[in-house]
Symmetry: C2
Subunit: 340 residues, 2 copies
């Protein structure tokens, strides 16, 4: 591999010339060999098995780039895969776009690309097209990654806010706030940070299994930025129904709760990167829970509450461990920048 | 519209809470009303007319954000549309992802979103899904935009390097180097900058017409970063055939040539944002040229050269105005950072 003497990416690597060609052919492509990408065409040519597709995009600006349980590369793949899966589709193709600051180390880029490649492989998704831009030192913070994705809609699956009804149960596939508390603890360099780990994971395997083997799932969403509180508020607002959740049933790791308490965060507002919320019919709730619990990413799945009749306006209410009630508001927005 | 007192975007607008909801609902969505986007789902649900699609992504980091003939928003739409069109597809859907620096003015964001919306409408493409991230002041340079796109393959059109043969003609749809020289002149604040104008334009209308009404087009590419020199070298390398172009036939505006001469650039290496290079069979060349010339974006189209037998290694050769010959190399990479 021909690199400059400092093994750093230069502004000139984004110029569209020989250096960029080398960056792409020697550093990027070897991680993602597949026929579509190897063509290096302006666009990837895909032959889908369905005309019904899901399409999504997400930019990743997480800081630090590497954290317990993952890195920006794994996050960029899992996050986009999860957005496709919760919409009821099987992810099939990713487009990868990098914005790299002049001076970024090739070694770190290679680590990130290795993560991307591994995460994509594990979910049987190909990176089929891409783009690389470089900006001057100081014009970006090391590296930003965008992934866009295409998923093929699962036959017979039709999820939507409009399907949600009073009595529906709310399932989450495991503990909350792991990702956000890991990031914030690493940033603040607090002493138990090593014991926290992001839940960053691609959920398409579990979600497709769930959607293909039951008919009771009505809506799904992954509670990332804004956490469970934001997701449940969005669901309540869009369905115009209220939601009740039981604090005692919401799985939280003790160390995560301790970190949140210490730093003054509400775990309900904290981002997750390997969780889904599923709204399911009451009849199918136990089946759905059973399917989750058999999967490695759903062992700690729980029914955490249900959809209830709206009295005045749709609200999300938490029944606390001591039996009190409090409104769970949509977070305002200041909590955690650059969490994903 | 509720904004903060300085009318600037805050880091908290990216937090996944109320502020982000307001940013999206009050500032972004109104520009892009369509049923798919209005669902605000994790992914857009699309019903395509074909299972054969093209898929592409591009991040835009152009500096300055606003330039004669366009801005980063128009560029982000046109660039991705062009990548889909030159691959032989009709662009149908875009995903829009914004990375915004804390403190960026809402007024400028609105201008950029207006450009995006207008450019998308003009090409009959919907922005169907999106993402917004904010980063601290100093962590990005104002705004970066990623657009990913899906195009439906045109029936019966199959472009590829492998179709290219000796004798094929090379067509360009107009003058070269307009975009790059406009950007660099504005950056250097040179006195004739106002007379230069980017060629930034969506070519899908012209390209689809060309591909649907002739059968002679074998390959197309848009000569952006690295300019005509990079594109022709890529074509020559991939097809293992040589290329000869005639300097006298390459359309360049006199003011663009003057700017390039003054600043020491070779117009062949300079980025274009509203041009395509088409490799066409000799029999169809005049028909193709005729179709181009009837279209507003192809009035100055020209046949600029042809594919020739390779002697030793595939090369691109320029026959100069005075009859000399010189090899047109792949640019090295230093020329123009942040041109798109």
């Amino acid at each position: 591999m021909r690199t400059n003497k400092n093994n750093r990416i230069l502004l000139a690597h984004g110029g569209g010339g020989q250096l960029m060609d080398e960056l792409i052919r020697h550093h990027i492509l070897p991680h993602f060999r597949n026929d579509t990408l190897d063509e290096l065409a302006d666009s990837a040519k895909l032959y889908l098995t369905s005309k019904s597709v899901c399409f999504t995009t997400d930019s990743y600006v997480v800081k630090p780039l590497f954290f317990n349980g993952g890195d920006i590369g794994k996050l960029a793949v899992c996050g986009t895969i999860n957005d496709l899966a919760v919409a009821g589709s099987k992810p099939v193709a990713l487009a990868l776009s990098l914005i790299i600051e002049d001076g970024f180390e090739f070694e770190l880029l290679d680590k990130i690309l290795t993560s991307i490649s591994q995460a994509a492989k594990e979910s049987d998704v190909n990176v089929v097209t891409g783009d690389t831009k470089t900006v001057e030192s100081g014009a970006a913070d090391k590296i930003f990654i965008n992934t866009a994705g295409i998923g093929e809609k699962l036959t017979g699956v039709d999820l939507g806010f409009n399907k949600i009804a009073v009595g529906d149960k709310i399932i989450i596939n495991g503990t909350i706030a792991d990702h956000g508390m890991t990031i914030i603890s690493q940033r603040q360099d607090i002493k138990f940070q090593s014991q926290l780990q992001s839940d960053c994971a691609a959920l398409s395997g579990l979600i497709c299994e769930l959607l293909e083997s039951t008919t009771g799932v009505k809506f799904m969403r992954d509670p990332t930025r804004g956490g469970l509180a934001a997701t449940l508020n969005e669901i309540s607002k869009a369905s115009t129904l209220s939601i009740e959740i039981n604090e005692a049933d919401i799985p939280v790791k003790p160390m995560v709760q301790a970190a949140a308490d210490m730093l003054g965060f509400d775990v309900l507002n904290i981002a997750n990167e390997g969780k889904f919320v599923a709204i399911v019919s009451p009849e199918s709730a136990n089946d759905c829970l059973g399917i989750c619990k058999k999967h490695p990413l759903g062992k700690e799945a729980r029914i955490i509450g249900e959809v209830v009749q709206t009295r005045d306006v749709p609200v999300v209410e938490l029944i606390t461990k001591i039996g009190g009630r409090r409104i769970v508001q949509m977070p305002y927005g200041r909590e955690l920048p650059r969490i994903c």
